[in-house]
């Protein structure tokens, strides 16, 4: 029942929100339901943690061999937790932002949450595909309607790009469907499928391109900086905090177990691409003049590392990936909150126009510094654990790859500190002269994120344990 309520709560709330007329009403509704979702998730983790509560199955589309099967495994729990935590934080942190037709905004946001939850719990190929798209459509509307100047073209590029990917995935799914003896989309049937090498090599790419676009890894990434830049920040948080994890998640859940041979065959190629992406994105990030674009490229670099670590197929590395999915989600949301706070207040995101905020807004400065160091995976922040484990996996796969990817660590320090310096330090500019401290809700949300960063950085073991079953299944 837990996974079902995780989907239904935001879904129902989203539908309701379309009909709430008052702006505040819809905000409160969204906040309430997102917190309720979080509560359900926590209950599921702590109280109702028997597996009976974590599976749900009804017949649906019987003639097509698909069932409404949802379930939570370790990785699913982790990502659902991330989603459940992120949304209240996002909604609360951007609570004071003004949107035209507020109710629609929050409705779409909640629908996105429902879609994301669905992706993480789906245990049926077709169902997974549905949620994959369901998560995309509201985002399309959110970005196109409430985004920046070039929003329409940029969002459209993003949409078409991902849509092509998911259509290819659909082709792949159908291909698999007819390969299963009982013509079924159920995940266990797909897992039991033993495809011939040529079939694997071929269908692997159909899936992988979809996921690679979503993640995104080099060279499928060009939609991302534009989309992040142009989207309303609340949506950007969803995009980069959670949605890119869909790609990673999907690789772990749908790609590797189904195409083990192809994954082994093309793993090296993908790792090389990912590593090129790490260095490439990091270098570009150094030269960015826009907070959002910088975070976007930094995110590409981080995702590249995760992707590379996946294909090492190393138990330690895989745990790192799963951990990092959570950590990166939390951290990057924090960074976006700050970016949003700055943009809302000062109306600019350009480094060249910012500076000296540490004098005007010390709390913001401290929180940004914490987040920045989490972004570069300083020890005792949550990101360190993930990166440490991932690098470990990568190292055991190939020393040189690890070393080149390690350049990313150095470059990450360069661009992140660039950002910190240009935003916070130095003298104030005409724009930042009258800057004031961030508002209370932003502060508290960032504080929560900071606490999570530290707590999971110091004591990651519960999270690691959560991933155990999934990794074991993958390695086998």
């Amino acid at each position: 029942m837990i996974p079902l309520s995780l989907i239904l709560l935001p879904f129902v709330a989203g539908i309701l929100s379309f009909f709430v007329k008052s702006d505040n009403g819809s905000k409160q509704l969204a906040l309430f339901f997102s917190i309720a979702t979080l509560a359900v998730m926590l209950l599921g983790l702590c109280v109702f943690n028997q597996s009976a509560y974590h599976h749900f199955d009804v017949s649906w589309l019987v003639s097509l061999g698909s069932r409404f099967t949802i379930g939570l495994d370790g990785m699913g729990k982790m990502l659902c937790l991330l989603t459940a935590i992120s949304f209240p934080i996002i909604i609360a942190a951007t609570y004071n932002n003004k949107y035209k037709s507020t109710n629609n905004f929050y409705a779409l946001l909640l629908l996105t949450q429902a879609g994301l939850m669905g992706v993480f719990v789906a245990m049926d190929g077709l169902l997974f595909y549905f949620f994959w798209e369901l998560a995309l459509i509201p985002v399309y509307f959110l970005c196109s309607q409430w985004g920046g100047e070039k929003r329409i073209a940029v969002t459209f590029k993003f949409f078409i790009y991902t849509f092509i990917g998911s259509l290819l995935m659909l082709v792949g799914l159908l291909f698999l469907y007819y390969k299963t003896p009982q013509h079924s989309f159920a995940i266990k049937d797909l897992y039991n499928l033993h495809l011939a090498a040529s079939e694997q090599n071929f269908a692997f790419w159909l899936f992988f391109i979809a996921f690679a676009i979503k993640m995104p890894i080099f060279p499928f990434h060009t939609w991302q900086p534009d989309a992040y830049e142009q989207s309303p920040t609340a949506v950007t948080m969803v995009l980069s905090g959670i949605m890119v994890k869909m790609g990673i998640f999907a690789v772990l859940r749908w790609l590797i177990p189904i195409f083990p041979d192809a994954a082994a065959k093309y793993g090296q190629l993908i790792i090389i691409l990912s590593i090129i992406g790490i260095v490439y994105a990091s270098l570009i990030a150094i030269k960015q003049d826009d907070v959002k674009r910088l975070i976007a490229y930094s995110s590409i670099a981080h995702i590249g590392l995760m992707c590379a670590a996946i294909f090492t197929m190393n138990s330690i590395g895989l745990k790192g990936v799963m951990l990092q999915m959570f950590s990166h989600g939390v951290n990057v949301i924090g960074l976006w909150i700050i970016a949003d706070a700055i943009e809302q207040q000062l109306g600019t995101r350009k480094f060249s126009e910012l500076g000296g905020l540490a004098q005007k807004a010390p709390t913001l400065a401290i929180l940004l510094v914490v987040l920045a160091f989490a972004n570069i995976a300083l020890p005792l922040t949550n990101a360190f654990i993930g990166e440490f484990l991932m690098f470990n996996g990568l190292f055991q796969y190939n020393v040189y790859f690890a070393a080149i990817a390690g350049v990313g660590i150095i470059l990450a320090a360069v661009y992140t500190l660039n950002m910190v310096q240009k935003v916070l330090y130095g003298n104030t500019t005409t724009i930042t002269e009258n800057a004031v401290e961030i508002s209370g809700n932003v502060k508290w949300m960032l504080a929560i994120i900071t606490i999570m960063i530290i707590v999971f950085g110091v004591y990651p073991q519960p999270m690691i344990d959560l991933t155990k079953d999934t990794v074991q299944a993958l390695i086998k």
Partner: protein, 463 residues
């Protein structure tokens, strides 16, 4: 048989209803009642409550499949009249006659869903198209309408000539007009197939491709769809086109493997050409109506997948496809008719002035684009699935080409959504009645319903 007889008779009733009343609303209501009657008659046949039994001497072979298609076609027409009825009677001063013609078209459609003889195929197509020539030209003072009617007529007559030549050659080879002889004769292997047979079959095929507007026989489509009064375009692009596909499927779906392979070469060329022309050309269109015309070509390309794969899934899928496509297109056209400006820019800001219209329009466009949880998705799904079912990597490549074009189609469908939701403007519409809104909601609801539970639709009537 019920449907054929009833549609003809009710057409006559409609013809004469124009004498009894000149009240347009009344005419529309009569048409609705008649359509409901027709639907009931067809369902009666379907569920074997009551059926008129006539010895057709193998002219027809009725099946559940055909009945189901009739149900879809009639229901779609019912919805079409429900949502656009007011606009039908507004086209010219012959409201009742237009409805009569629509009934005659339906008669042709029902013939095509159950024909078992090339003569009936010929007659069915003619019964279906001749009223359409008239409907296309019904806006008599409008030169566009004139032009469209003339073009449609000349090209239609030409393609009829091609088809008749095909039938003649086929007859020369087989000696009769039953379609099972077609099946039997083509069941040989490549080198043993009678050449007359094959060339005759190909002429028929070409002519049918013309009817369903597949490239490179599609040239009439954009001009005719664009020139015809929008209400009738809606009808032509949906129900009539679907009937063409059903006729094609009936004729060609049972061919042998060996011939099938050869057949597939032609089909693949046609499919790719159709997808290419339809999708790519639609991208540039500024007029929504013309864009929909090209998109209907593109949709035809997808439906041709069913012909390529020729399996059960294709047969089921084409039904779902026609219903999904018809629903969405009827809805889209209904809204288009209400718009003052038919260009894409004319939709700017519709979401503000008419949120319900914009929302339902979006659902229709989603369905056309094949976004999940709309009927259109499952329609495309079935098509893709049927092709993949045939196995082989060539099939997968074909499907990949198909989905790439589907992505292109998203480009132009979403231009309308962008205009409605994200662009500033004051989209002006003519008066929107609550009835109209209700009708749109019904269509949208059906689209979502089929998108969530497509097997309910199929299972309800068919399995």
């Amino acid at each position: 048989m019920n449907a054929i007889i009833f549609s003809a008779l009710l057409g006559v009733v409609m013809m004469f209803s124009g004498i009894l009343t000149t009240n347009k609303q009344a005419i529309k209501n009569i048409a609705l009642v008649c359509l409901t009657l027709l639907l009931v008659a067809n369902l009666a046949n379907h569920y074997e409550w009551y059926s008129i039994k006539i010895d057709t001497k193998q002219m027809f072979s009725f099946s559940k499949y055909g009945y189901f298609f009739n149900t879809i076609a009639i229901t779609a027409t019912l919805l079409y009249v429900f949502v656009s009825g007011d606009d039908i009677v507004k086209v010219g001063s012959y409201g009742a006659e237009y409805f009569a013609l629509i009934f005659f078209v339906l008669c042709g459609v029902t013939i095509l869903s159950g024909y078992n003889n090339l003569l009936m195929l010929f007659l069915g197509i003619e019964i279906m198209t001749i009223p359409l020539y008239i409907l296309t030209g019904s806006d008599k003072k409008n030169l566009h309408s004139n032009e469209a009617a003339l073009k449609y007529f000349l090209m239609g007559a030409f393609s009829t000539g091609i088809m008749l030549m095909g039938i003649a050659l086929l007859y020369g080879s087989s000696g009769n007009f039953g379609i099972e002889t077609v099946v039997n004769i083509t069941a040989g292997t490549l080198m043993k197939v009678p050449i007359l047979e094959v060339i005759g079959l190909m002429f028929i095929f070409v002519s049918m491709l013309f009817k369903v507007s597949a490239a490179p026989f599609h040239f009439w489509t954009p001009d005719v769809y664009d020139g015809a009064p929008s209400v009738f375009t809606s009808f032509m692009a949906t129900i009539v086109k679907s009937a063409g596909f059903i006729a094609l499927i009936t004729l060609f779906a049972n061919k042998s493997e060996e011939l099938g392979k050869l057949w597939n070469i032609l089909l693949v060329i046609v499919i790719i050409a159709t997808l290419l022309v339809g999708n790519i050309t639609a991208v540039f269109q500024q007029s929504v109506k013309r864009m929909l015309a090209y998109s209907s070509i593109a949709q035809a390309g997808f439906m041709l997948f069913a012909l390529y794969s020729k399996n059960d899934i294709a047969r089921d899928g084409i039904l779902l496809y026609t219903s999904a496509y018809s629903l969405a297109t009827i809805g889209t056209f209904a809204i288009l008719i209400k718009m003052d400006d038919h260009s894409i820019n004319g939709y700017n800001g519709l979401a503000k002035s008419q949120p319900l219209l914009a929302a339902t329009q979006s659902i229709f466009l989603f369905s056309l684009a094949g976004i999940p949880l709309t009927a259109g998705f499952f329609a495309k799904y079935f098509m893709l699935a049927s092709v993949i079912r045939t196995g082989g990597s060539a099939a997968v490549y074909l499907v990949i080409i198909g989905v790439l074009f589907a992505a292109v189609s998203v480009y132009y469908y979403f231009k309308v959504i962008q205009a409605m939701y994200f662009k500033e403007g004051s989209a002006a519409t003519s008066k929107i009645t609550p009835n109209f809104k209700f009708a749109l909601l019904v269509i949208a609801f059906l689209i979502i319903l089929f998108g969530v539970m497509p097997d309910t639709l199929l299972g309800l009537f068919y399995f």
